[in-house]
Symmetry: C2
Subunit: 414 residues, 2 copies
């Protein structure tokens, strides 16, 4: 019988084998006392199994409060646990409740992070998974051999549909590939969803008619189910190619329902991610996280970016990009969305460390606040990536390209 394996990084004041057994017990047949009905046969079939325990360092101070025992330090370790696929079948929410669920509340642990999961082959048949991903996005936008260049409408909230459409026109003419709503914008008082779609798609469709290039616009679909499905149809009828969902805020079942429609590229925004990931011994790491959203069907997922404006380290960003580019079944790879404080200057380090152009490289302020205006900002990003891939240093690119040089002057000092 197929099994699903999860890797955890844990911290515990208990003996490791005892703590691991509690973890496995809680997430299969366990309660705090033995109960009738818990037969050996049933345990054999449905109990979670501890596959391996690899001790790491010992901490003097617990990472998290709530420990019930203390016996000389808090032992950290990597633990692998597996479950038979019979336990949950092909039910993503129950899978998540099993992999995470009550584990974070166990007083036997002072830290617990889900690091990665391994999915059995049959999952490929039971889920549609990512349907567009990198290949589908590239095809839709007509971009080959370089990163897709994208931007976020700023100010985040408050612009009218007409102002937004005028900005999109400027950006399209400047050669942008992708534009997205801010995650705070969906349907504000002065910008109804439908009116925004109409005005923006009018600009994008005209530009496509003229040039053959269809800019991808990620309209923020996030809402309750019926509204998301109505809006989905609205985008589709208007000739749109993409919708954005704040995956943590909408949740797994809602995101899967939208992705399963299969006609729009789904841009997954992971706002709320810091709550799930920022603490080194609580929550979930990106390799596990992105697999869950690929199962749900997301095509693009945010990974922050090198030298981002948030807390995340470059190492973590690089690992996230690599996770997106690692195949899952025969589905298209997930497009990493590089975003947060990007302005082109980071293209060099991003290229150096990842050696890939399979990125959606997004700049908000880095494009909108460019000294020559948004058009200059788009040009500067194209130049930065061209320079990086051709082996120029940032300084060489600055000297070579006018608009990128302006970017360095404006944004390079931070």
């Amino acid at each position: 019988m197929e099994r699903i394996t999860a890797k955890y990084y844990v911290e515990t004041p208990f003996a490791l084998d005892k703590a691991a057994a509690i973890l496995a017990g809680e997430q299969s047949s366990g309660t705090f006392v033995a109960v009738p009905g818990e037969t050996e046969e049933l345990k054999q079939r449905f109990a979670a199994r501890v596959e391996s325990i690899t001790p790491a360092d010992v901490a003097d101070v617990p990472a998290m409060p709530g420990a019930t025992a203390k016996q000389g330090g808090y032992q950290r370790a990597h633990i692998e646990v597996s479950w038979s696929v019979e336990n949950f079948g092909y039910n993503l929410p129950v899978l998540v409740s099993t992999l995470q669920g009550n584990l974070y509340e166990l007083s036997q642990f002072t830290g617990l992070k889900l690091m990665d999961i391994t999915l059995p082959a049959s999952y490929q048949e039971h889920f549609k998974g990512t349907q567009f991903g990198i290949a589908g996005t590239r095809k839709s936008c007509g971009v080959v051999g370089r990163p897709l260049i994208g931007t976020i409408i700023k100010p985040s909230i408050g612009m009218t549909p007409e102002d937004t459409a005028a900005l999109v026109k400027t950006l399209a003419e400047a050669g942008i590939d992708f534009v997205k709503d801010d995650e705070l914008q969906s349907a504000a008082a002065n910008s109804s969803f439908e009116h925004r779609v109409d005005t923006i798609m009018d600009v994008i469709n005209r530009h496509a008619d003229k040039t053959g290039k269809k800019v991808m616009y990620a309209f923020n679909l996030s809402d309750e189910i019926d509204s998301m499905l109505r809006r989905y149809e609205y985008i589709l009828k208007a000739g749109g190619t993409c919708a954005m969902i704040s995956v943590n805020s909408v949740g797994l079942s809602g995101v899967k329902k939208v992705c399963d429609q299969g006609q729009l590229v789904i841009h997954g925004h992971r706002n709320g991610w810091g709550m799930l990931n920022r603490h080194p011994l609580l929550g979930i790491e990106f390799p596990a996280y992105q697999k869950i959203w690929r199962l749900a069907g997301v095509d693009q997922l945010h990974v922050n970016g090198i030298q981002n404006k948030f807390w995340e380290s470059d190492d973590s960003v690089v690992r996230s990009i690599e996770a997106c580019l690692t195949p899952l079944f025969s589905w298209p790879d997930l497009l990493p969305v590089v975003s947060s404080g990007q302005w082109g200057g980071q293209a060099f380090e991003t290229w150096r460390r990842t050696q890939t152009t399979d990125l959606l490289y997004m700049a908000g302020g880095g494009i909108m606040a460019h000294p020559s205006g948004p058009a200059g900002g788009v040009t500067a990003l194209h130049q930065a990536w061209e320079g990086a891939v051709n082996g120029l240093s940032l300084e060489e690119a600055e000297a070579t390209y006018k608009e990128f040089g302006q970017s360095v002057k404006k944004f390079g000092g931070k």
Copy 2:
């Protein structure tokens, strides 16, 4: 114009007013540089407003990694921020992205927790909210003047529908009010959802025909949207009165879609809660959390319990119970589900600290592993609460009631 206010507990190495301004900016019009289009009029209308800053203590060591500056200690504070309802209208996922979203990733903070939110009056008209809650659950079960006594099917996973139904029969005859699936159980290989509903509801319906009392069974509905709606209809047709959803795993849009059907009581299981709450300076506190789920329409929500088997303190449990019992608009109050290592012994302290019987008091092992069997376990819980409300101490109740006395002997030593 109505505003929504959020209270945060934060920690920052920056000056508090600067940090608060960054928080407000990030969650309204902000990016890392000023952008064209960000007019004063637009700011006035859509910008988040810092309402108050109340300094707390200063920490020497940051609660979380990722700070960008350090100027003599990490200042903690309570910060209130407000947004015009115009920013998001009546869109719960966008509301959540605004209240939480990128905030946890800001390098200007080394800790951030959403403590509570205040909702404007118009939200009552735009959301159905909790439709059954305490009053509706009591009416459905026919229970007045005492807590509802409930249990969880254990072993958590692996029992056949027939074994489960036989156990439910025993429990019903012993006077149980409420039974629930474990959150790990939905449709295992040996227990299809439909077959489980059929066999269990057959027992419950027969018992109701005979006695007039309908035991509430919370079938674990958690799954993708279409499956949840099919299962919902299935429960309804079989005469069921309740469905359980793992709210964090299913997510906000999916939960709301199910709750909006309005015909079954929705039991909200909050597994995954530890990830969102365990760290004192990361995530969300229950007063804010439960309001979001009341907006979505949940009727019952887990709060752990006094002296629970998890990490959560009694103080936190008491605050959670109080939050559920605090009215939200004119909706029925949320039924607090007291669960986790409960066996009856905690009834005394629970009563002493909360002075309420508006609880769904759940014991899994505490009922199933009772020395006189599950029937004895149910009786013992009724006795414990009768004793507690009548002013007996645990020891007096132990001496007064046979089955509760047996519970004390078996479970009281832990």
